[in-house]
């Protein structure tokens, strides 16, 4: 299998070579061998020692080609696929990620104070689309790209959760 760790451009081959014992594995990552000793598994949290260094990982999300987890306190994503290089190539062309880029998400929970860019209006990347209020603070949600606001998914005075869709911007 091939793996790509968030923020790294490197595509790495990795596989399990041997199950040494009930809780120990020999793995090969980037042409070098490592020993993993599993210490504990509990509700999506795994603790293991890799080459004599303790790690704790909390798995958040696991899709076919992407996995998200918090490892030693840092949240990160790993892309994986037997043909990862091709996928990376495609993604840079935008074909697979197009849908993601359509939606503008709320990155905080809050109450909608105002909608500053109505449906049909043209926006530039960084333009304010709406204003939310949370913890006595007003926070602006800005367009993530140049485009036209296709639909607005929120209403003034209503509450939104983190990761709710604010608008579709084409």
């Amino acid at each position: 299998m091939k793996y790509k760790v968030q923020d790294s451009d490197e595509i790495v081959d990795a596989e399990i070579i041997e199950k040494i014992s009930q809780d120990e594995y020999r793995v090969k990552i980037k042409n070098s061998e490592h020993i993993i000793k599993i210490l504990n598994i509990n509700s999506g949290v795994m603790e293991f020692v890799l080459d004599n260094k303790f790690h704790t990982v909390r798995y958040i999300e696991n899709k076919t080609s992407e996995m998200k987890f918090v490892i030693d306190g840092s949240e990160l994503a790993v892309n994986m696929n037997s043909h990862l290089d091709e996928i990376v190539y495609k993604n840079s062309g935008g074909s697979e990620t197009g849908n993601v880029q359509l939606n503008l998400y709320s990155q905080i929970p809050g109450k909608v104070v105002s909608i500053n860019a109505g449906e049909g209006s043209e926006v530039k990347k960084g333009d304010v689309v709406c204003v939310l209020e949370s913890m006595k603070m007003q926070v602006t949600v800005k367009s993530h790209k140049d485009g036209v606001v296709k639909t607005i998914k929120i209403k003034e005075g209503n509450s939104v959760n983190k990761n709710d869709i604010i608008a579709e911007i084409e």
Partner: protein, 497 residues
Amino acid sequence: MIEKVLVANRGEIAIRVMKTCKALGIKTVAVYSNEDRNSMHVKNATEAYHIGDAAPAKSYLNQEKILDVILSSGADAIHPGYGFLSENSEFAELCEKNKINFIGPSGKSMDLCGDKMRCKAAMLEAKVPTVPGSPGLVKDAADAEKIANDIGYPVMLKSVYGGGGRGIRIVTNDKELHEGFKSVTGESISAVGKSAIIVEKFLEKTRHIEYQFARDNQGNAVHIFERECSIQRRNQKLIEQTPSPIMDEETRVRIGDLVVNAAHAVDYTNLGTAEFLRADNGEFYFIEINARLQVEHPITEFVSGLDLVKLQLDIANGEPIPFKQSELKMNGYAIECRINAEDTFLDFAPSTGPVPTVTIPSGPGVRCDTYLYSGATVSAFYDSLMAKLVTWGQTFDESRLRMLNALDDFYIQGVETSIPLYKTILNSEEYKNGQLSTDFLKRFEMIDRLEKDLTQDRKDKQIPAIASALMYSEFYKSKIQSQNSVNQNWKNKMDGA
């Protein structure tokens, strides 16, 4: 003698006040909103009263309701904490009227501290320097020019109706001043239909340095050293430390004497803080008095050995301050990091929600004041301060390294925190060298440096991250395929994922 204190607050400060009360055998009364039914301060109090809806106006700011609880619980004193009603002179007077011991200054003194113009006048009379500028509004551009030339350029033209950076111009000579006067007037009129301008000396690379002070009913006053709180975002303090790296003993005593004068000048009682700007040329300018216990009081407790809440209670009981200025000695170095629930990269936007798991740091020289516990919730209704992480060291570097260590150990699941930013700051040469100023974050591009640190961190985790992915697949696969009894237990656990 105070025997039962109502703590009109929530979160870490309510808990902190109760700790001292409990240790002194004083009963405590908590109040809580709907939102806070599972909050720690409710559990820690001798008694707890529900006071209304989540919104502060309907609960923690509801003076009548809180007064009702004071009277029905038989509390003889009230501790307001910080925020909420702590600097509300009307409420302080309401307590006085009802013969309830308000732990803080009198309503009258609080009023004077809260009115910046009157307070500034009182300070000038007491010979405490304030930021040079017009004594009040300027009549016209000519008036402004005269003042500018008196105090020296650069100066700031400020519309009193402005705010948040609007209606402000920094000008460096007479020509710029006349142009600026016109545009500020124009902006102000177009925004609010009127204009009123003051002139103030513009200070660059200023540090925020404040003094803890105490004054008792007999008129004895002491200062309890300075705190430097220059590292801020949006005028909110993030990191505080004491002693300040630019302070020497001569200056400490000289400004400390001014602080004592300031406390006398406003007839202050109980604990307060005098805030100063320190200009790059070494001059100190009084800004304001905070008429309450400050968030950052633990660093003063560490270096003075005092329990400041106990001192508040003693003074409120009418006792004289139990030590003399000359008996106070600074011992070591302390740093506080305010652990906020916020997303540094979203312009410090709040991050709220449940915190299923939290690991609170501890160890030699480490103190953590927090309302967090595994299962707590960070509410969107109140402010974003979840915890105050405070460390002490014999040397500055010991306190700094202990802080970095404690930040590493602090694990808060579920919300974004300011912890990564603090690691970047505390590791920076500029912080180590004490190059502090209120624009520290911007001046040294700390957010960009944080982003680089996090990117590097993720890159460094390449091997363990891939190992984690491999192991997930392994346990996921084996769950379906094998019935190996030894692994069964683990697989069952994994299903909880």
